[in-house]
């Protein structure tokens, strides 16, 4: 165990004395930033796709849009997110001549990626809302879109909040690959500490611990939110 003491000491030197913790903080910040902004983008994209998918398809335009959405969802669910990151960063963006900081590329790709997943969640949420809600809105002379936005979607979102929380947790974990395109996340920070102290055991252990803590905190927040929602259901 004396060995481990030495490892701990080395880590502490690099982490605290040599300011490694600032890198960790930046890494944590980037990780959360990519996950949260990514999810926000994903929710917007996912909602739009879900609405297109449940829209009645008598006319040509909704059919075409629906096929496009199916293609989009199929593509993003059919490839690993690392591949999407690499292809976007090294193929798509250079080809169309856009130069973007790695972090923004990550937010974009994770947003597009979670959009595909959120669309499925949102579609389930919309279909779980009683069809009578839409009928009542339409019978009052409101259009399909307005009823969707003002009546159905709010109820759908309430139903799927816990699932969206799980999506956030999944995103937090998946961001651990962003170093493939040079974005600085937790892995990069602890790898830096490990490389500079010639000792990887403790840094990676601490990294795992931080991931677990973050996930547990998010899970707790979701639980609290769920409980609050259920309470308001009763009180109202």
């Amino acid at each position: 165990m004396g060995n481990f003491d030495k490892k701990l000491q080395k880590f502490w030197e690099m982490f605290y004395v040599n300011d490694g913790y600032t890198k960790v903080l930046t890494g944590l910040q980037n990780t959360l930033y990519i996950a949260i902004v990514g999810l926000a983008i994903g929710i917007i994209i996912g909602t739009v796709i879900a609405i297109v998918e449940v829209f009645p398809k008598y006319k040509r335009l909704p059919k075409i849009l629906n096929s496009l959405c199916r293609f989009y969802v199929g593509m993003f669910r059919g490839t690993p997110v690392v591949v999407q990151l690499l292809v976007t960063y090294y193929v798509v963006l250079p080809l169309i001549g856009i130069n973007m900081p790695a972090l923004n590329v990550c937010v974009l790709v994770f947003g597009l990626n979670s959009g595909a997943y959120v669309s499925e969640i949102m579609r389930g949420g919309i279909m779980s809302v009683d069809a009578g809600q839409m009928e009542a809105g339409r019978a009052l002379g409101l259009s399909y879109q307005v009823t969707m936005l003002k009546v159905v979607i709010p109820q759908a979102v309430k139903n799927i909040l816990p699932t969206l929380g799980n999506e956030l947790i999944a995103l937090v974990k998946e961001t651990s690959v962003v170093s493939f395109v040079g974005a600085a996340d937790l892995y990069v920070a602890f790898n830096y500490i490990g490389t500079n102290s010639y000792e990887f055991m403790v840094p990676y252990l601490v990294m795992a611990f931080i991931y677990i803590m973050v996930v547990m905190i998010i899970a707790l927040l979701i639980k609290t939110m769920e409980r609050r929602l259920r309470k308001s259901d009763r009180r109202n």
């Binding site: 008598y58 009683d130 009578g132 809600q133 009928e135 009542a136 809105g137 339409r138 019978a139 009052l140 002379g141 409101l142 259009s143 307005v146 003002k150 009546v151 709010p154 109820q155 309430k158 259901d233 109202n236």
Partner: protein
Amino acid sequence: MIDVINLKKNYGKLEVLKDITTTINQGEKIAIIGPSGSGKSTFLRCLNCMEDPTGGAIIFEGVDIANINVDINIHRRHMGMVFQQFNLFNNKTVIDNIMLSPMHIESHDLRVKKLKNFFIKIRNTFTKNKKPIYEINTTRAKIKAEAKENAMRLLKRIGLEDKANVYPSTLSGGQKQRIAIVRALAMNPKVMLFDEPTSSLDPEMVGEVLDLIKQLVNEGMTMVIVTHEMGFAKEVATRVLFMDEGKILEEDVPEEIFTNPKNARTKEFLSKVL
């Protein structure tokens, strides 16, 4: 007011409505009766095109609303509909349920007018012959205040003004249905369509809902009501339609239908339910 001409409705191969033709005049109270699955609800839902007819025409105030090129939303505003399952908006308070549609429609109109004026003004600065702008004599706040006042008036009418700010989940079935009825009234409809408005209520709550409907009857509201309450139909209807297998088999004043039915099927049905 509503002319139904050769109305047909199929679900896939299933013919639910077979060539229905009838006229609903201003001030009439029409009760639709008939066995389960005979197409009563489908017929009612075709009247405001909640179901798109497969064939035929629904002429409402001179416009064939069955034509899919017609903006159905505009016409539906003049046709109130009340459902068996109430269908109050669960995410809105009682008063917001009532205000939502009137407020949305009016503020939407206001937005459109403002936008049009904006473009007309731009155009007018560049051309000689000036186009008049739309007159706007309201504001969003005013629209909201009026909608709220109207909603409160309607709630007072049914004695539920203290429920204005609660969510539907805490209300009894009878309260929900009465609110659903005044929500439809908030649009100032010219005709009200009811689909078995009391069928999912506990017996002790049927009365309060029927009383409200009777009030509307006395005010001269034109209405079409699908019902299993034969006593109610007998009491308020000016005409009763008996439907079976997607057809109107007999239509007459209630005295005739209930005491002296002509069609064999009507006789058989009434002998079972009366």
